[in-house]
Symmetry: C2
Subunit: 339 residues, 2 copies
């Protein structure tokens, strides 16, 4: 018995496109292994979108090497999410837009509308969740819906799954994570002798750092991720106000030199620590000893360590950082919603 | 709304006792966080057992520092699982007995009886599953029941969760695991200069190696784990006949010396490799390069790496190897059965 799941995709940039392609590639596997017919019925961008009345229309669009939605025959300018949500059987809204960490928009609006119409959510965007975590979760719970956000919390590296599923029944006493590939790449290159500007410029050339890298190098991307992981896994209600954030832009050469002399590796960590009954989250530069489980996590690689009361420490390392890895994290979340 | 779950525990050795104590310790947490009242209603050993008519009887038994079931007031000689299964509301059978890898017993009998009476299973024992994986899984599926065996597949190290849940939708192209703490400890000490016999004897003194360590050092424990992980995660139907198994008892000093000179670390790996549409599993000694994600997994520590088509490689490392860690893995499986 197969179950059909309607999917609406918000955003058709690098991650959105990778997701649409991955769904196409994994169509048979999802049906055979998980009993789910995942049907991408609409893609929306700012300014309009497309509703696919037949699967062939989507296939045709994706055959184009670098498809732009606006160039497609089916482009419908002015089409909005409000318009199409009530007309479809509720399934999963997949948000691949980039939202402001200050206002949560446009993602926050999309998520709220989807939940109100009875849709589950899988999101790669952080803004909406960081801005209004508590209310979004409450709305989902009240309606018996799920919000999944592996895509916003290190994507293919399973941070939430491990914290929520593999550590069920354990108390989490602390978390340490290398959660941002760009800063880890820059720090790795600085450890190899480059200055900050040279390392950043190399990361830009390689397409690792974005044109405006401030969210990454100032620590806000890491802060968003440790905030979401903490809120989801240990039930805190953190906003940015509760997190002390340090970036790598003003890292002192002495810290790097001293670490190197002592055989340590300098990392930007998102951390959570239980003190009494309280949790405290922080983003800070930290030299790691060779025995630390994240010591060898270098370049654009990521990793996270959970410290627990019953299971000892458990570390997860790796996971592709590219759009395909993010798309795979969204697909995983959808499959697990219906498990 | 809380749900009451009846639990029968088979075996009251180190892991069984740790499990009973952990349930007592986590009673409130399970109720508050997961909405489950986990009620341990009976403990059975070879020769008899105890049915607790009130929770206080169990509490009293556990207050004894090193309780032996036979010494307890409530000990009922000759009591069997067949006798008590039909009299209780079906819940979860927790198997902490040690079963033969050659016959699967006594675990295989317990698991079959439990499934036939409508009980889910969480097991720390490998024998029954290794011996008759296919039929047990079929029986469970037919009856809509679950068999969980984190406790048999590296316990607190989440191997199955990551393979089944975190990698949903990905194709697993290969697995490499350091799955046995005893052999990894011996190899680590040999890398530090000890001979095999000296390292084994030290491991025995420290309580790391069992009095008869043959299952570990001859590779059969690792073989059982990679067999179960493979069957569960990629759907193979392996038995021991399908796995080439090498142990560490005859490891050549040249291999160790050469590895050391090249800066590599010698490990006993359980491996799974996809070749075309076929999977092949093996247990073998392997020198790992410094860049390998499991290179730094030393001493009694364990780790596993999954190689995938969409998410890159993902490694999980750590997890306590003691009875409390195994008990925590059983508890996690129970909580996830009712999620």
């Amino acid at each position: 018995m197969k179950r059909t799941v309607t999917i609406i995709l918000m955003g058709f940039g690098r991650v959105g496109r990778a997701f649409a392609h991955l769904l196409e590639e994994k169509r048979n596997l999802c049906a055979e292994r998980y009993g789910l017919e995942l049907e991408l019925k609409a893609i929306l961008e700012l300014g309009g979108g497309t509703v696919f009345s037949r699967h062939q229309e989507l296939s045709r669009l994706l055959k184009n090497a670098s498809p732009r939605l606006q160039d497609d025959l089916s482009w419908n300018p002015g089409l909005t999410l409000e318009e199409i949500l009530p007309k479809m059987e509720p399934g999963v809204l997949v948000d691949c837009t980039v939202s402001s960490l200050k206002t949560g928009e446009p993602g926050l609006g999309f998520l709220n509308k989807a939940l109100e119409c009875g849709w589950h959510v899988a999101t790669a965007g952080k803004g909406g969740l960081v801005f209004d975590f508590k209310n979004l979760m409450k709305k989902a719970r009240t309606k018996g819906l799920k919000i999944k956000f592996s895509g916003a919390t290190a994507a293919a590296l399973p941070t939430l799954d491990v914290g929520l599923y593999s550590l069920a029944g354990a108390e989490i006493l602390g978390i340490e994570g290398i959660l941002n590939g760009t800063t880890n790449y820059i720090l790795t290159r600085m450890d190899q002798g480059l200055g900050y500007e040279a390392a950043l410029s190399e990361a830009r050339q390689k397409g690792i750092a974005e044109p405006d890298p401030s969210m990454d190098v100032e620590g806000w991307d890491t802060a968003s991720k440790i905030l979401l992981i903490s809120n989801a896994v240990v039930g805190t209600e953190f906003t940015f106000r509760d997190i002390k954030v340090e970036g790598i832009t003003n890292i002192s050469p002495e810290v790097l030199r001293a670490a190197k002399e002592e055989g340590k590796a300098v990392k930007l960590l998102g951390t959570l620590l239980k003190q009494g009954n309280q949790f405290a989250a922080e983003v800070r530069i930290c030299p790691l000893e060779p025995g630390h489980p994240l010591f060898g996590v270098s370049g654009t690689n990521k990793g996270i360590t959970f410290f627990t009361d019953t299971m000892g420490s458990i570390s997860v390392i790796g996971g592709k950082s590219d759009p395909r890895g993010a798309a795979a994290a969204l697909l995983k979340d959808i499959l697990n919603i219906y498990r």
